[in-house]
Symmetry: C2
Subunit: 339 residues, 2 copies
């Protein structure tokens, strides 16, 4: 069921089997499996996550390579509701472990916000990341190209970058090392710091040895049309032509709500076992939040794993369902012999 300010009251006395924080690929896959395991779950989605911005999902088996990420999300949101799962647009602010269950505090509504608290036996953290983008005076100028030919994921989109003149947008010296992986796909790399990075001599030397220009002038704007970036104009008025770009500026992790819980971290990523279980036995972490590859296929599999682990826990702790009418039988009907 679609929950909103108007109807969410009826779920406040319910203890869900699982609340899923994040309705991207990982969270929706977890909800499909949980619902099909006949477990109750609520997906809480803040909106506009990483997969929402993908213009073409080119490496997920079964979907035509021009399928946008939002189509995947739309199909999933509709399907989980057909299966009986709940879906709420909101932002999870806090998760408190109350022993047998968790209290999940959610902000619903940007204006006149309300702050309902839901309860669940398990929490699935699938809230993902969002890529940092170059900070220009006109951010719409960046959004016009990000996810089109201004890429944010080398593994996803290296193939599209192949042999093109590629601008590598960085926000730290360490990120410049991306050039030495990107060069598998193209050697025509220009590193762009937007005037924000101190670059040491060793790195300058390495770039020079590879023939990759480093431009440290602040960027005035991206050039292009119809979602195709064709170059960059700098603050000094100079320009370069590009065929494509890769942003390697790190990511923001949506994991603040987990920071009060005793979990095992590897930097900003959660450490999990092979079923995506964190160091807390009733908290799972999926997709980009956990260690590993940030790929839709991985996120979808993570949803499968976490839901299955939760189902096994709950099933094993539940009494078996007996075929009551047969228990009283002394003799089986003619066509059925009892054991």
């Amino acid at each position: 069921m679609k929950l909103s300010k108007k109807n969410l009251d009826q779920r406040l006395n319910h203890v869900y089997d699982a609340v899923i924080v994040g309705g991207g690929a990982a969270g929706l896959s977890a909800a499909i499996y949980l619902a099909r395991y006949r477990l109750s779950c609520l997906v809480i989605e803040k909106g506009r996550g990483r997969s929402f911005w993908m213009q073409e999902l080119r490496n997920y088996l079964g979907l035509h390579p021009t399928t946008p990420g939002r189509d995947l999300l739309q199909q999933g949101e509709q399907y989980i509701q057909e299966l009986g799962a709940d879906h709420l647009r909101g932002f999870v602010e806090d998760v408190v472990d109350e022993g047998d269950s968790f209290a999940i505090k959610v902000k619903v509504g940007k204006a006149d916000s309300i702050y309902p608290v839901f309860r669940a036996k398990y929490v699935i953290a699938a809230s993902g990341i969002i890529d940092h983008l170059p900070q220009l005076a006109d951010m719409q100028n960046v959004y016009d190209y990000a996810g089109y030919n201004l890429h944010v994921c080398l593994i996803c989109d290296g193939y599209e970058i192949r042999d093109g003149r590629c601008g590598l947008f960085v926000g730290s010296e360490g990120a410049i090392n991306t050039a030495f992986v990107l060069n598998w796909f193209t050697p025509y790399i220009t590193v762009l710091t937007n005037g924000t990075v101190q670059v040491g001599e060793a790195m300058r030397q390495k770039l020079q040895e590879h023939g990759y220009p480093l431009i440290e002038t602040p960027i005035a704007r991206l050039l292009g049309h119809d979602h195709t970036m064709t170059g960059v104009q700098f603050a000094d008025g100079s320009t370069i032509e590009l065929d494509t770009g890769l942003v390697a500026m790190g990511s923001h992790y949506y994991n603040d709500y987990l920071k009060g819980l005793p979990l095992s971290w590897d930097g900003e990523n959660l450490v999990t076992d092979e079923m995506c279980r964190t160091s807390h036995p009733r908290i799972f972490a999926l997709g980009d939040l956990k260690r590993g590859l940030n790929q839709v296929s991985i996120a979808v599999a993570d949803g499968t794993l976490a839901a299955t682990a939760i189902w096994r826990d709950i099933r094993r702790a539940s009494p078996p369902r007996r075929w009551e009418e047969n228990l009283a039988l002394v003799e089986a009907p003619a066509t059925v012999r009892t054991p």
Copy 2:
């Protein structure tokens, strides 16, 4: 490119980066990623694997739940060829480790077979399993329902079985324990041995305590129409009505070609690391062949992992691509400062 008897000669002198044994969900996903990493690969598919038989793929995010498995395979086969991967219909008979590469012997063609040998740096074992089915006099009678409402995977299809009168088809006493997981979805379970199983007293007692009838009479035929099984007729002429069925008779593993290699096994499953690498550093095992859940989503993620690990290996062993024309520059052009 589609390979066949007529054109495969031109690939016999090529050393592929990877040969993928099996063109199901795992193998096709691996091929998508490998091709997009600009690596050469050949998918060898014997045809009619487990996912080919799936009538409805109800738990894979992004596809409508009535999508048949063969649609997934068809999309993947077409896409990998667009990406430049090769695809061959054939049966892998043997894999020999020749040190730097493998020799992969394939049987091509059921009549007038030929036995070409392909070479690859890496082998990806994605040849999967196929479920054993009840052996009846008329096997077409079984095929009419298998994959429709006669299911073979409890995790995939428990939801469809829910609260129905379910025949559990077993071929061993151990498999009867499936009843005590299946009862999460329905308690109306009748265990059918088709007269092939010795059932001990402890198991009879346990079934009786749960109220699940055990029928040991040989099965004459499945009843039903239009791919909907409605019951079973036994050799003695008696019948029972059913709404659905679950076959729990184990699987045949397509892994004979790996048996001569020094790999680590867990029963019939290959032991792999978190990137699906086996104990041999250049052999990967995906999907149903390796330990873990037998799900399309897992197979697709496995393809992602193995392809990425192979790409990393090959990339790290390759010289970097330099931007040659910039290496000779003394001064950068006006708009580009060299480092």
